[in-house]
């Protein structure tokens, strides 16, 4: 990559990012605008995908809301993403958890990763 473009991207990069992995249960705090006010809106769900690298990195967070699956792509370096909290590490064997889309209820559970 051109060094000038790399510098442009570095300026916009966040210094620290949480180590989010597919299968994790996360709570994302998104800044939203209501009229002139800004407030944070939490979005909780399972990370089913990690995509892109560096400044373009995104995660896809899935949750089932009122019986309907909702997936949201979160650009990690966006200024509108205030914070990402990892509530629970998941123990999964795949990088892309698309199989969760076909599952509901108990079948859509993910084992917790136990770190020693």
């Amino acid at each position: 990559m051109n060094p000038i473009i790399a510098e442009l991207e570095n300026e916009q990069k966040k210094k620290t990012l949480p180590n989010v992995e597919p299968g994790d249960l996360v709570k994302v705090f998104v800044l939203i605008k209501e009229g002139n006010k800004e407030r944070t809106q939490p979005f909780e769900g399972v990370v089913i995908k990690k995509q892109g690298c560096g400044f373009r990195k995104t995660i896809t967070v899935r949750r089932v809301f009122q019986g309907i699956g909702v997936e949201r792509v979160i650009p990690l370096h966006s200024p509108k993403i205030e914070d990402i909290k990892i509530l629970r590490k998941g123990n999964v064997r795949r990088a892309r958890l698309y199989y969760l889309r076909e599952r509901t209820g108990k079948a859509a559970r993910i084992k917790e990763k136990v770190t020693r």
């Binding site: 990559m1 051109n2 000038i4 473009i5 442009l8 991207e9 916009q12 800044l31 605008k33 400044f55 373009r56 650009p75 370096h77 966006s78 200024p79 509108k80």
Partner: protein, 213 residues
């Protein structure tokens, strides 16, 4: 005002705007423009300024080009371009063009040489349809008929056929300026710009209708 700018396409990236939306941008490194000649209606028949940019070694230029610059004590410029303007009297030879003149402009037209694709068939070059690939068909990527019989007895000029694709000047109009960085001499425009990374592109303000909000 029809002042223009010239620069080198560095490549594409993305930036976030105030709403937190991702905008795809092309980064252009603007060259420092020096006025090398002032043309007026009295002397040359039209009003324009000639600008030079991108300094090179002296041996890279012909003697004619070099003397044209050296007579005015200017360095050797790789490129010399003319900009038609209404008020050439405001400029002097050796003066540098300030980016401030581009401050109020929101939309620009950018011209560059598109990426060469070589000799291409009609399907890629003119979006023709392909023939059937099976059932005994041998007409896979052929152009089809190119004309009638005795009347007119020739192939019309300008018929779409296979040939060289790309590697020609292309202008993209109405690109919005996202940011002008005066310290680093960078111009960020929304969307893509013709050509490889490293090609010289010329930037002109769009028609005033599109620049008046």
């Amino acid at each position: 005002m029809t002042l223009g700018l010239f620069g080198e396409k560095l490549g594409m990236t993305q930036i976030y705007n105030e709403d937190g939306l991702v905008i795809p941008v092309t980064v252009i490194k603007l060259e420092k423009l020096t006025v090398t000649q002032v043309k007026t209606k009295d002397t040359d028949g039209y009003n324009a300024i000639q600008v030079g940019f991108c300094e090179v070694k002296k041996r890279k230029l012909t003697k004619a080009e070099l003397m044209h610059l050296e007579n005015n004590k200017l360095p050797a410029f790789k490129y010399l371009r003319e900009l038609r303007i209404n008020n050439p009297g405001n400029y002097e030879v050796g003066q540098e063009i300030d980016l401030a003149e581009f401050e109020n402009i929101q939309k620009v037209d950018i011209t560059g040489k598109s990426i060469g694709k070589g000799f291409q068939g009609t399907i890629k070059r003119h979006n023709f349809s392909r023939g059937p690939m099976s059932h005994g068909s041998k007409n896979h990527r052929l152009p089809g008929a190119i004309g009638a019989h005795t009347t007119p007895g020739r192939v019309f000029k300008g018929l779409k056929m296979a040939g060289n694709m790309g590697n020609q000047n292309v202008t993209v109009k109405k690109l919005s300026i996202v940011k002008i960085d005066k310290d680093k001499n960078l111009l960020l425009v929304k969307g893509s710009v013709p050509g490889h990374e490293g090609t010289m592109v010329s930037i002109k303000p769009s028609r005033t209708v599109w620049n008046s909000n």
